[in-house]
Subunit: 226 residues, 2 copies
């Protein structure tokens, strides 16, 4: 009875996608309703049939961006066996997060670039969503630390900020056709979990060990390329 929104829903999504793309390239104030309308094959006035203001548009872009990430990561974690290790959970979350932000690149980039410039109430509403996501990550890391998988001398709040900061930065340089998401996720997990350093450590300044002589894939089987 109350479900016929056919064309309207399509246009609404088209406008939102257009908005994300334009906000991404021009920032909050630099984006005009006329630009968005152009991108969505509409006239500026018509946008107001779907969204009641520019602020509601940016708010929707912001919320949808983080929401997509939360759902993707949650689903990936839920699909893990309940006895999965901390390492597996972190690797999984990293890959899912990467997937989500790259699939929704326009939204993620728009958010990244526009977040600090948006009217305060909108920003605060979106911030609540982001905080809940941060809490989820914090849980994963703390779990692994409590189990003894992760070192106990690492401030996990800081670690989380590093990880999410680095992850979100990928959308700035990731180009389809270049390195695959899997490749990036693996390398990133490797750096974060095992570090850059060789397993043998580095206490003295030795002369160039033959680098070929190292076990290439230590713990989790490290599938090479794909």
């Amino acid at each position: 009875m109350t479900k016929k929104l056919a064309k309207s829903a399509i246009s609404q999504k088209r406008v939102l996608d257009a908005a994300a793309k334009i906000f991404r390239d021009n920032g909050y104030a630099g984006t005009t309703m006329r630009m968005i309308a152009d991108e969505a094959d509409l006239k500026a006035g018509s946008i107001y049939y779907h969204y009641e203001s520019k602020d509601e548009l940016i708010s929707a872009v912001l919320d949808l961006g983080i929401h997509a990430v939360i759902e993707t990561v949650k689903a990936a974690l839920d699909a893990l066996p309940s006895d999965a290790s901390g390492r597996q959970r972190v690797e999984t979350a990293i890959r899912a997060h990467l997937s989500a932000i790259i699939d929704n690149g326009d939204y993620t980039l728009a958010t990244r670039r526009v977040f600090g410039q948006v009217p305060k109430p909108i920003r605060e509403k979106n911030q609540r969503l982001r905080s809940s996501y941060a809490t989820m990550w914090q849980g994963i890391l703390m779990d692994a630390q409590k189990r003894g998988e992760f070192r106990s001398d690492t401030d996990l709040s800081l670690a989380r900020l590093f990880i999410l900061g680095a992850l979100n930065w990928t959308v700035e340089w990731f180009k389809p056709g270049g390195r695959s998401i899997d490749e990036v996720a693996r390398t990133f997990s490797g750096v974060v979990i095992d570090g850059l350093v060789t397993d043998s450590g580095m206490m003295t300044t030795t002369k160039a060990q033959p680098p070929s002589k190292q076990k290439a894939a230590p713990r989790t089987p490290r599938i090479r390329a794909l």
Copy 2:
């Protein structure tokens, strides 16, 4: 003979600082000359005595931001003994980079948020500076890898992107009065170089090892707090 620029230089710097702060909070298009003028205790028209356009202003902010970082990091690396280890170099670069971007927080944040929205020629000019900085980091990482200090199975281009992405993100959450720069730099170096994982590795799912039982500071002496 050609050096008397006294008051002019002061005003010029004041305008630039004001511009960085306003660009930071409002983005490129959202920043008006009148806002900058207000922040610098001037009238909008007067800015044009020092800078010939809004574009020249943003360009100056962008360039100065990255320039400060380059100089600081270079100086810190040059101060190291020539036989310094890769680990030392990376730790030093991380700390210097953090110092620089936090000291110039307005410029760094402005750059982060505005870079993608700025007219193309300006962005490309600034990109050249940033690329040279990236090359420098790449050199540090590759050196350490060649010496055998860093694992050979890590894609260092990706690693560099992660490191710089995470580092630059710190300005978004760092608050003076909270954790010190040293603290942040140490934790960050720890995660990136040694990883999150305990030295003992994690091949099976063991029941909660007593976390207190770990050697707290493995390689480089890890000074706790300060």
